[in-house]
């Protein structure tokens, strides 16, 4: 629908999901608008690339692109994919102990979705000319990182709620603008991911809402989870703008659409009211509305801690990596068997045709 772009905030089913739908509509519109054909012979390829980006058109896999654009995207999409795959662990930790069969089913479906999102994103990364095997190797050798939030432990059931509400909430705020990323396969994967993640955030909020309106022990469990997850969630938006190394170029290429601090502020502003309805307290004594800025003032997360966790010294870094490596290693014989079977079948097929 034309103009949905601007009405997203108030659109029916608005909020973040509305923004995702608006991004999807914009993608279709841009595709329909005066399309740039292939570059003329002898045309300056960099100028051609810049033209496409300026026109808010999507760069597609076989287009020419600057090597740095390709590298930046591979790194970002891969790290995003790794985060989904490693992110299965902290929540997966509670599937076996989920307190009702309904919650068990929802959590299992959610963790399964994370695997699906990882695979959508690996598929998007592969369009840039890197293989899944290489990507997996980069993850398990530790040469590429994943979101540091997943290096914190899930100690109680309420942590599953806090991850859904805060961690998935922060992820969505980060990801919604990526639905408008200039690289087509990434933008399309993000649209799909964001639509599915919306269910994740709601299930987290619902868990916390039920706990905070339950027994005193349940409410205490919910508050404790928020106390532990609030600052790490704020840190998910990355270092403050002044210290962020990749931002300016990524913004120019329309890979990134907003700065870390802008997104962090947006997240804080969203959470305050939601926490009130939960009847739970965000652990920040200095959190207050600033009328001048029309936004909440808040305490920054501990960025030194963020750097320590990124470097490998978070509570669960070693455990998460070991788990991923073990799954990969223990699966080797199965993958070999499947490959051997496929080769035998292909051989039999050939013999049948020859006969």
């Amino acid at each position: 629908m034309y103009g949905n772009d601007f009405a997203a905030e108030d659109a029916p089913g608005g909020g973040l999901l509305g923004q995702v739908e608006a991004a999807e509509a914009a993608l279709r519109e841009a595709a329909a608008r005066g399309r740039r054909g292939a570059p003329e012979p002898g045309e300056d390829l960099e100028a051609y690339f810049a033209d496409v980006i300026d026109a808010d058109q999507k760069i597609e896999p076989r287009d020419w692109m600057p090597e740095a654009y390709r590298r930046t995207l591979i790194r970002q999409i891969a790290q995003h994919a790794h985060s989904e795959i490693i992110g299965m662990q902290p929540e997966g930790n509670w599937i076996s102990r989920a307190p009702s069969l309904k919650r068990k089913a929802i959590l299992l479906a959610k963790v399964q979705d994370e695997a699906g999102h990882g695979l959508y994103l690996y598929a998007a990364a592969e369009t840039l000319g890197i293989s899944r095997d290489e990507l997996v190797e980069l993850l398990i050798s530790g040469r590429q990182k994943y979101s540091s939030i997943f290096n914190y432990p899930t100690l109680t059931w309420a942590d599953v709620g806090a991850i859904g509400w805060l961690v998935d909430g922060a992820a969505i705020v980060n990801q919604v603008p990526l639905c408008r990323c200039s690289y087509g396969p990434y933008a399309r994967a993000m649209i799909r991911v964001c639509k599915e993640e919306s269910f994740h955030q709601r299930q987290g909020y619902e868990i916390l809402h039920t706990l905070s309106h339950g027994t005193p022990a349940q409410k205490a469990m919910a508050q404790d989870a928020i106390d532990r997850w609030w600052y790490p969630s704020l840190a998910m938006f990355g270092p403050p703008d002044g210290d962020s190394t990749h931002s300016a170029q990524s913004m120019a290429w329309k890979i990134k659409r907003f700065s870390n601090d802008e997104l962090r502020q947006r997240f804080v502003d969203m959470c305050v009211q939601q926490a009130e309805i939960l009847g739970l307290t965000l652990p920040d004594a200095d959190l207050r509305w600033n009328d001048e800025r029309q936004a909440y003032d808040y305490t920054q997360p501990d960025y030194d801690e963020l750097m320590r966790v990124i470097k490998g010294d978070g509570p669960c870094n070693r455990q998460r990596m070991e788990h991923r490596r073990r799954a990969h290693d223990e699966g080797a014989w199965v993958r070999e068997a499947a490959a051997a079977y496929a080769a035998k079948q292909a051989e039999r097929q050939k013999e049948k045709i020859a006969a």
Binding site: G15, L16, L17, A105, I106, A109, Q112, D113, G116, L119, Y120, A123, A124, E126, S131, R132, D133, A189, K195, E196, S198, F199, Q201, R202, Q203, Y205, E206, H209, M270, Q273, Q274, I277, A332, R335, E336, A338, A339, Y341, A342, Q345
Partner: protein, 95 residues
């Protein structure tokens, strides 16, 4: 294990009767049969499809209409996958 022993497949899904198959992404599988099963599990978890094609280099494999029941029905009752399933208390914005 050898590098790249698991081939890449492109996946096409027909979302509803009357529409053509649309490319939805790719996945890895050792052979066509498993590629089709993986595609069903990965790309139609929310009833997004009535038919799937998986395409390795040059070849096309499609799910047969006869298999449709067992193939797609199981997702029908998993309403918790859709965001509208959740009760959001009145007045909560941006969720």
């Amino acid at each position: 294990m050898s590098q790249e022993s698991t081939p890449l497949w492109e996946v096409f899904v027909r979302a509803r009767r009357g529409l053509s198959h649309t490319h939805v992404g790719s996945l890895h599988a050792p052979d066509a049969e498993l590629a089709l099963r993986n595609a069903r599990d990965l790309y139609t978890r929310r009833q997004e499809g009535v038919s799937i094609w998986v395409v390795p280099a040059g070849a096309i494999t499609a799910s047969s209409p006869d298999e449709k029941d067992a193939f797609f029905d199981p997702a029908a009752d998993k309403v918790y996958r859709h965001p509208t399933f959740y009760e959001v208390p009145d007045g909560v914005a941006h969720l």
